[in-house]
Symmetry: none
DNA sequence: TTTTTCCTGTCAGGAAATTGACAGTCCTCT
DNA sequence: AGAGGACTGTCAATTTCCTGACAGGAAAAA
């Protein structure tokens, strides 16, 4: 099955999984619900869905429900008749009408009012709707694809989202992982954007230096692809030379890398043992060394609690006494 | 007594009870109130009621009171005269008129406004009603069947539902049990849906493997039949082979069954792995199990950060790729 | 097209960890 | 004094873990 992905960049397995599902779902008319943090490229994904469906050639109509004032959203979606409200000078088509035969993409559907949710539900299951202030019932031959960055199940539980609508929408869930979970895709995307912006500005394509790559990779990109795109555009304007050095990167990225948590001892704090992978790398420790350190800490604590009696300490730890001894020997922690 | 049940699937005793009552009630003209969680198939049941009544051949008109905007509901039900409100360009029949001689099904009647409830009550006991903005009184030879997923008694107590209407409606109560109480019906329904979707998509009918059946049976199906239907549609699109293995089932089901290894969740909080010796004992974990859990957490995080590329994840962790693979295999964390 | 690169799974040999068996040291109680 | 109990260290057998070597597959590069 050949997928046409207009602009989706990335090779990471996590993304590949999503695309595999996309390829299967696109040709069917099943309802799809896309989830993922904002800026992860949900719209692009849905565009690809449309492009690979039998509805290509018909309109693709995106609506960002979160970006349109609540009171206007209904008429935006369903249109309105002349005189429906004060400013309705004449009647107007809604997005559903514009999307006839094609796909409508309801982004940020989690932001939608309960009252509007009702109407969407009807459009979804009855395939019909009405313009604001209009008596005529219109038919909707439209594939509805919704997306949200909220946890809809939680919203349902909290009573902010209709349960029936949720189940109607969530036939095929597609989860778009955040950029920081997409590994080396970050570099691919960075290059992609750099190339585009540099071409746009008629300058030779910029390249990330090795240190810059490291920094870019370790930054968590809370704004996801959108944030990355912005940074790259900024670089394409501001960077003087063709090779991007670490120093050229925005403050935020440099700062983040600099915030190395306290020294190795830091793993022991107020009686807790803690760790994140990030720290691990920062400390230049491998998994093994790290686990050893944690183990050592636990051993010490057990010994202390047992008053130095190895027999009991071993029992506390749920290991054989001899094992404990071996471990202590390996670390020269004879006494306590 | 021969029941024609258009599409109702199931043989469980709880359902059989309901159907027995249905069979007795159908031929009479008694008012029926159907209760049951959302997604349990109330509409189907009422259709069957209609089909087995002397009103077959006359219209069956379902109205989802919850899915129609409040302000439109009255005119939807009773119709309106030309000019009744700004957008009422011409007069229009209501659902009651359309249902003349047949059955009208008022789904989610619990959502209905108190003001409308009065009018329904009148239609129910006087058998007459008026169009919106119309003086003419119309007769209604219509069997009214209502349904709700709310606890109407509680609604009455809270003053959100008229007591008199409640007693009028609740002549014959029919309670549709949630899917999780219908035992093996779940499998019958699953097969039923699988067959339908597979036919629709022109692929050989999928079958649930034995383990898959177990899992499906033990899942509580909070979304009831609708949720089950969704899952089966999803499978009919996504499943590669014709036999559905446990692994093909959605995460939610697997997690619920505890197939996912005993969650070391207790230790993972706010992105940190933490533990004190005391907790360790409380959790009934030994040193080894604990370290394993920490390791698992780190593995997952590394894998995530590498976008699922094991090669890179291993490097992040400072271990050999093959080692990582061994560790993952030991834990069945193949995918991610 | 072919070549190269990158990733992946499997496997077997060697390294390391775990544990049971033994043996020795204190101390207490009879 | 001698028996019993609680601890401890050593060691070799067993089990588990780690890694390098291969081989296949898919996608970029040539």
């Amino acid at each position: 099955m050949e997928l046409k992905l207009s602009g989706m960049v990335g090779r990471s397995p996590v993304l590949a999984d999503v695309l595999r599902v996309l390829a299967k779902v696109a040709p069917t008319d099943s309802t799809v619900l896309v989830t993922g943090e904002s800026g992860t490229g949900k719209e692009l994904l849905v565009r690809a869905l449309h492009t690979n469906s039998h509805r290509v050639g018909k309109p693709f109509v995106p609506v960002n429900c979160g970006a349109i004032p609540r009171e206007l959203l209904e008429s935006e979606l369903f249109g309105h008749e002349k005189g429906a409200f004060t400013s309705a000078v004449r009647s107007r088509q809604g997005r559903f009408e514009l999307a006839e035969g094609g796909t409508i993409f309801l982004d940020e559907i989690g932001e939608m009012d309960l009252s509007l949710q009702v109407k969407i539900l009807r459009a979804l299951q009855e395939r019909e709707y009405e313009r604001v202030g209009g008596g005529k019932t219109l038919k909707a031959d439209v594939r509805i694809v919704a997306a949200t960055n909220r946890d809809l199940e939680a919203e349902v539980a909290a009573g902010r989202f209709r349960e029936d609508l949720y189940y109607r929408l969530n036939v095929i869930p597609l989860h778009l992982p955040p950029l920081r979970e997409r590994g080396a895709d970050i570099l691919l995307l960075a290059d992609h954007f750099l190339e585009r912006f540099c071409r746009q500005k008629c300058r030779p394509t910029l390249t990330l230096s090795a240190e810059a790559k490291d920094l870019v990779l370790s930054y968590p990109w809370p704004g996801n692809v959108r944030e990355l795109e912005n940074f790259m555009e900024r670089l394409s304007i501001l960077c003087e030379h063709d090779m991007i050095a670490a120093a050229d990167l925005p403050r935020k990225i440099l700062d983040h890398a600099g915030v190395a948590p306290p020294p190795p001892v830091a793993m022991v704090q107020a009686g807790f043992v803690w760790a994140k992978l990030a720290d691990l790398a920062d400390l230049g420790l491998g998994l093994k060394e790290f686990l050893d350190a944690v183990e050592e800490r636990l051993l010490a604590e057990a010994l202390q609690q047992a008053g130095g009696v190895k027999n009991q300490a071993a029992e506390l730890l749920g290991i054989k006494r001899t094992t404990l001894i071996e471990k202590l020997k390996k670390r020269n922690m004879a006494g306590e």
